[in-house]
Symmetry: C2
C-alpha cells in the first residue's frame, strides 16, 4: 500500500491536485462541519472550487434528512446547492426499492410496503418515489411493548403485521426502541428484505461520537444471527452508480473527500475514482490514514488547507 | 462429536439418567415455561425429582427479574422454591462487581458506581450487594436526546456524566433508547468497564422470539468496533463457579437442562458437568441437537417426558 501524500503547506502540490479533477464528491459531516459547527474553511474552499468550474456533489450517509433537508442545511450555512447536487443514503435506498427491487426480487413486488425504522428523511425520500411505508415517525410505535404485542406479533396477526410489507428499511432513528425492533424482526422473519440506508456505527457531533445507523440496526443483526442488511450508503457502490448515472462523469477525473476510511475513502477507492482525499476534522486520525488498511491518496488537516492552492 | 441419546419412550434409559445425578440445574424460559405459558409437565417433573431427593437449581439469564422476583414467578406457577435455589444473571454480575472487581480492577475501586441499562431486577441485585447505581429504570433517561445532551456528553460534563461511574452494566431493557446508549458509550469511552448480565440475542415469548439482552448491548458493541462486554449469564462460567461455591456439589453428578445449545448446553459442557439434557420446547431444534456444533448428552421433546421414569 502506498503512503498518502500530505498536501498542506505545498502550494504546487495542492494546485496539481485540484487541476487533476473535474468532480469533487464531498462527505459532509466531519468534512464541511461537525454537528452544527461549520468549519471556517468550508465555504471559501467550495467557492474556490466552483470558481474553477469544478462540479461539487454532497454525498451523505445521513438518513435522517431528505435531499431537500440537506440542501436547506447547506444553504443555512451559507453554502448554495441544488437538490440534484445532494445524494443521501435514504434517496439511494428509495431508488433501489422503487426501480431495482421489482426486477431483482419479483416476490417482493406484490408486498410493496416498507416498514421504516428511522426518521422523516427516509419517509420523504420513499414518498418521492411513490413507495408506501409504515413505522418511521408514526407516534403509534413510540411506546412501551405490552404482553398483547408479544401475542399478536408471535401470531403474525394481520392487525399488527401488515401482510403487504415486503421490505424493512433501517436508518438512523433517534427514537428507536424495543417495540420497533420487535416489529422489524417479525417482518423480516416473515420474509421481508432487510435493508439499511447505511451502516455507519457512529455519528459525529459536537466533537464526539454518538450512535449511528449501524448501531440502530445492530440489535436486528444480532437477533438474526449475524445477517447484515443490504446497505446503500457509502461505501456501497449502489450510491456511486447512482451519482455517475446522474452526472455521467469520468471516474478517473473525480475525487472523493471524506473523514472516514471505511466509508468515504473506501467508497472512492472501490468506485475506482481518480483520487481520494482524507481530512482530519472527523473520525479518522493521521495514523488511520498512514497506517490503516484503507488509505487515501492524499490527506490534509482540514478542507480549508486546499485554499493555499487558490 | 457423539450423537445425543433420545430418552423419550425408554423408561429404563430415563431411570438410569435420573439416578446418575444428584443435582439438576434448570434453565427456566423455554424449559419450564415459555413467556407466561407453563408447560404441563413442569410441575410434576420437578415434584418427581424432589421426591427422589434431587437438588434443583433454577439458573436464568433473565436479568429483568431479581432472584426474589423469580422465586415469586416460580411460586405463582405452582413451583415451590427458595431464593437460594435461584441464580440469575443480574445476581451473578452483582456478585462479581462487589466481590471480584475491587481486587481484579483496583482502578475501578474509587469509581464505584454502576450505570445500568436494564430493568428493576438488576437494580435490586445491585442494591442487595450495596452497590450504588444510576440509569436503569430512572424515568430521567426515558426521553428523547436533545442538542444539549450532545454538547454535555461530548464535553464529559460532570453534571451529566457522574465521575464516580466505573462500570456500565447492560441487561435486557424493554425501555432502551438512543439516550441510554449515548450515556453508556460515553461512560465506557471515559474508562468504565463494559459488563453485561448476559448476551442472549433473543428472548422467547408466546412461541416466538423477541430482542434479548445481547440485542440491547449490540449497538454499544457496534460503536466500540466489536468490543464485546464481559458477560455473566450462561454460558459464562462465573455463574457455574458461584453455583458450585454455594452448593459444594460434585460436578460429575450434576446435569444441566436447557433449550439453547449456545447458552445452556455449552454452560454445562464447559462447566464439565456429568450430563446435559436438551429439550425441544424452546429455541433449539432437533437438528441443532443432532447436527450442531454444541450437542447435549441427552435430549427429550419436553421436560415432562422424564415422568416416564418416575
Amino acid at each position: 500500500m502506498s503512503t498518502p501524500e500530505y498536501l498542506k503547506g505545498n502550494k504546487d502540490a495542492i494546485r496539481g491536485f485540484i487541476d487533476k479533477y473535474d468532480v469533487f464528491l464531498f462527505d459532509c459531516d466531519g468534512v464541511l462541519w461537525s454537528g452544527d459547527h461549520l468549519f471556517p474553511g468550508s465555504v471559501p474552499t467550495l467557492e474556490m472550487l466552483r470558481k474553477k468550474n469544478k462540479r461539487v456533489v454532497f454525498v451523505t450517509n445521513n438518513s435522517t434528512k431528505s435531499r431537500e433537508d440537506y440542501r436547506k442545511k447547506l444553504e443555512s450555512m451559507g453554502i448554495p446547492a441544488t437538490v440534484e447536487e445532494v445524494f443521501g443514503s435514504s434517496y439511494s435506498a428509495s431508488i433501489y426499492i422503487s426501480r431495482i427491487l421489482p426486477q431483482s426480487h419479483p416476490e417482493v413486488k406484490k408486498r410493496n410496503k416498507v416498514f421504516v425504522v428511522g426518521e422523516a428523511g427516509i419517509e420523504t425520500e420513499l414518498a418521492s418515489e411513490g413507495i408506501p411505508y409504515l413505522g418511521g415517525t408514526d407516534p403509534a410505535y413510540r411506546r412501551d411493548v405490552t404482553p398483547e404485542d408479544y401475542k399478536l406479533l408471535a401470531a403474525g396477526d394481520p392487525s399488527v403485521l401488515d401482510p403487504d410489507v415486503g421490505v424493512v428499511l433501517v436508518g438512523l432513528d433517534f427514537h428507536f426502541n424495543y417495540l420497533k425492533i420487535c416489529y422489524a424482526y417479525h417482518y423480516i422473519k416473515r420474509g421481508a428484505l432487510f435493508l439499511a440506508t447505511n451502516t455507519d456505527s457512529t455519528l459525529p457531533s459536537a466533537g464526539a461520537l454518538f450512535p449511528g445507523a449501524g448501531s440502530v440496526s445492530a440489535p436486528l443483526v444480532k437477533m438474526l444471527g449475524g445477517q447484515e442488511p443490504m446497505a446503500f450508503g457509502k461505501p456501497n457502490q449502489a450510491m456511486m452508480d447512482a451519482i455517475e448515472g446522474k452526472f455521467q462523469f469520468d471516474r478517473s477525473k473525480a475525487c472523493m473527500i471524506g473523514d472516514r476510511t471505511n466509508t468515504d475513502i473506501r467508497f472512492g477507492l472501490e468506485g475506482k475514482l481518480g483520487g481520494t482525499l482524507g481530512v482530519l476534522t472527523g473520525v479518522a486520525t493521521k495514523e488511520d490514514f498512514l497506517e490503516g488498511d484503507v488509505r487515501p491518496h492524499y490527506y490534509v488537516d482540514e478542507l480549508g488547507d486546499l485554499l493555499e492552492g487558490a
